[in-house]
Amino acid sequence: MANNPAGPPRRTRLGEWLRQPGVLVALPTTLFLLVGFAGPLVIVVVYSFMPPRTFSMFQAPTLANFVSVVTDSYYISFFWSFALATVTVGLLLLVCYPIAYGMAKLFGKWANLVTVLIALPLLISENIRLFGWVLILLKNGILDGSLQVVFGLSIPSLLYTVPAIVLGLVYVYLPFMLFPLVIGLSMVPHSLKEAASDLGASRLQIFREVELPLAMPGILIGSMLTFILSLGSLAESKILGGQAVVMIADDIESAFTFAQNWPKGSVLSVMLIAFSGALVFFLFRRIDLDRIIGRR
């Protein structure tokens, strides 16, 4: 105040910042996230630098765990995880694109029914749904048994193979690809495709020049979601794959539980998080979503 010769009491900048209503409102959530989300991550990172097989967080840091990822052939699990995730995303794109096109452009009022039918199984535990597939793929199971009775031919067990794992991954993560694709495709105005056709473009040219680039935000988000989910998946390889391959999430689980080697589990987790994070960061930096959908 002007008539106060001493002036207002001095406050620190931090003090003023903390008194803003937005900061106060955000404080409980921030604390909760720090304790429940960031804290455990920090602990995992710290453990990855601890000597192998220790349970203490306060030893001299070492890179021994990172070296052992290479020497103990853990890169094989990484390879399988990346390979299976890549194949899964590719198959999901092929399977989901036509369905998403139908839901966005063709089914009309029936699109809601399809949405419900696809979303409904999500209410059942993933493991239970995968055991359903075990019963189908088992030797003398539903598929094999039906073929024997109807056609009299017997097929080798499909269970515990790499294709069975891929089937499980595609099946479980289908909604996470489908719904972003539906949104992506519904953002392509029909008049633009008509205009392209009017200017001489064939169906393939319309797809390449107009539909694909305009639906790209949905395609990228769906691919990213399903890639990262597949990368960290565990149940599909264990339940449908048996001993066929070991995926990285499997290794992480064994390191923490069976092997009781927390630093080893931590280093694998940190590497997986770093890979996925780098991928997301790279894609979203490289590809300007606003530019693609024409907001800028």
Partner: protein, 359 residues
């Protein structure tokens, strides 16, 4: 018909389009001459959008034939037709720059990239867009610039006929006027056949060589702008141009008609052979008011009800007390009629200024 000499480029024979039980277009016969600017005018729901979508190949007619230079093209898809349309929404590709938009038909046609760039730059300058716009995003362009980009893209396709689906309807009045004239200039420069649709007869008058008026799925009149204005074929066409005075009349002897509403009789300058009943249309600008009306053959007395300034003209509303009908009279602003609302006035018109139509 019009002064365009060459033969028809596009011929429509008994075109019909049904959607289920609904008939959008029916019984349309039309010849469009090579190089002319033809405009289809009609209110919303008159079938003009359905018409143009059939002509560019986005809809198939359910009856009749479309002939392009004598070849039937009913089933030919849009991407195989040598025609092209500027959409009402313009349908510019948001993920492509201005230059890439204009380049699109050239790229699709597989033109050599170096030639493409030169052609796009030629079109940019023809449409009065700076060459630096090649890299610009289409969303950053103004409404008028986007119009020009859409037109440039259509011209890049080098169509034999260029169709326009009300592309100017979303623009403000002044910009629309400017672009109407630019479009007419482009038509003259390119010499291409333009087929335009709009709900504004005024817009059609400014640009067109010939106009076709659509009403409820049919073409009710085709003619030059002055034919449409001076000799409307029915009440709908006459009223479409703007406010008119319409009387329902019947024949009352040689060159005389009787107003069915009040029994007053008027002279007409038209052969009434075979005319039984119909409408007498008198445009507000041919009606005289005050002293200048007193010597005219057709006169009515009324009360000045109100006056409105229309810019270059002044419109008067005159109430005919016994029937409660309001007449519209217009005069140029620089020859005003001095009176006050409530005063008795005489209005009148020359017999040759009345237009008789049957329906």
């Amino acid at each position: 018909m019009s002064g365009v000499a060459s033969g028809p480029i596009l011929q429509l024979r008994q075109i019909e389009k049904r959607f289920g039980d609904f008939t959008a277009v029916t019984g349309v016969d039309l010849d469009i001459a090579e190089g002319e600017f033809f405009t289809l005018v009609g209110p919303s729901g008159s079938g003009k959008t359905t018409m143009i979508r059939m002509l560019v190949g986005m809809e198939r007619p359910t009856g009749g034939d479309i002939l392009l230079r004598g070849q039937r093209i009913n089933e030919m898809p849009a991407n195989k037709r040598p025609t092209c349309m500027v959409f009402q929404s313009l349908a510019l590709f948001p993920h492509k720059s201005v230059g890439e938009n204009i380049d699109f038909p050239l790229k699709i046609a597989g033109v050599d990239p170096a030639k493409r760039r030169a052609r796009v730059e030629e079109l940019l300058s023809q449409l009065r867009l700076p060459l630096s716009y090649y890299e610009k995003a289409v969303q950053q362009c103004s409404g008028g610039e986007q119009q020009r980009i859409a037109l440039a893209r259509a011209l890049a396709f080098d169509p034999e006929i260029l169709f326009f689906d009300e592309p100017l309807s979303a623009l403000d009045f002044r910009l629309r006027k400017t672009l109407e004239k630019e479009l007419k200039d482009i038509h003259r420069e390119t010499g291409k056949t333009f087929v335009y649709i709009t709900h504004s007869l005024e817009e059609a008058m400014v640009m067109s060589d010939r106009i076709g008026i659509m009403q409820e799925g049919r073409i009710v009149q085709v003619g030059s702008p002055s034919e449409i204005y001076n000799e409307p074929s029915n009440k709908f066409v006459a009223q479409f141009m703007g406010e008119v005075n319409t009387l329902e009349v019947e024949t009352a002897g040689a060159a005389r008609v009787r107003n069915l509403a009040d029994g007053r009789e008027y002279q007409v300058d038209q052969d009434l052979d075979g005319f039984d009943r119909g409408f007498l249309i008198i445009r507000p600008e041919v009606v005289k008011i005050g002293p200048s009306a007193e010597a005219l053959a057709n006169r009515i007395e009324g009360t000045l009800y109100n006056d409105y300034a229309l810019g270059s003209r002044v419109q008067y509303q005159v109430r005919i007390e016994d029937v409660g009908v309001h007449w519209l009279v217009e005069r140029l602003q620089d020859e005003p009629f001095e009176s006050v609302p409530g005063a008795s006035v005489v209005i009148g018109w020359r017999p040759e200024d009345g237009i008789l139509v049957r329906d």
